[in-house]
Symmetry: C2
Subunit: 113 residues, 2 copies
Amino acid sequence: MRSRIKKAEILKIIAHPVRIQILEELEKGVKCVSDFEESIEASQPNVSQHLGLLRRCGFIDYYMDGRLRCYFLVDPMVPDLLKILRKEYKDSLPAPACCPVTKKGTYPGNRRR
Amino acid sequence: MRSRIKKAEILKIIAHPVRIQILEELEKGVKCVSDFEESIEASQPNVSQHLGLLRRCGFIDYYMDGRLRCYFLVDPMVPDLLKILRKEYKDSLPAPACCPVTKKGTYPGNRRR
DNA sequence: TGCATATATTATTATATTATTATATAAGCG
DNA sequence: CGCTTATATAATAATATAATAATATATGCA
């Protein structure tokens, strides 16, 4: 059972436009840093920093191909999360059935008083 | 199609232990602020700030019950995200089949030169 | 061996997030 | 109406994150 702190950390690491783009591209296959530099609007050191962060946190890894570092996805949670972010939700969740205004249902909270 | 900036914003808002706890509790049903104060290790103003943020971003909403504000989940993406965070993944993703070291497969990146 | 290429690291600055403290609002009750 | 309860807002201070600029490392090739 993951702690809430851990859950928050996971989301926090992914929650950056450049890192999301990196992960989305790695979903499609292996990429080296210069591939990213073509598609991502960020400086080389900046991309490198994002890659480093994702790697230290275990989301991605790389192998060496000559002087290229070829990155690939490691964490299976990533595609699942990206998929949810892609999904278009049409409706809001149903409003609670226990609205005290209409006096229908019961309010579930334990309230002091 | 959501932009990457938007995707990052969504994750960033959720990516906080207290906000995750709020959302997890709202998954189970409506709660008023004083319910949260019992379960969450944070001051009343702090909880209120997190609730305000989640509300301004459209993840939750509330109805009034006398002087209580009863919060409930609105955004259907939230339970999906929380579910992924709960999931235990046993294995890493399969390592790429196109490793140039073994000379099997082809490296998919468009590389200059 | 020395140069060019590919990528990383470090330091710095700018900006955003967070918790805390103090104060405000708003509703119901006596 | 004034008090109490429930909750929010605002100001501040502490901390974390991010981008930039400058520099370093490491590999292959001539």
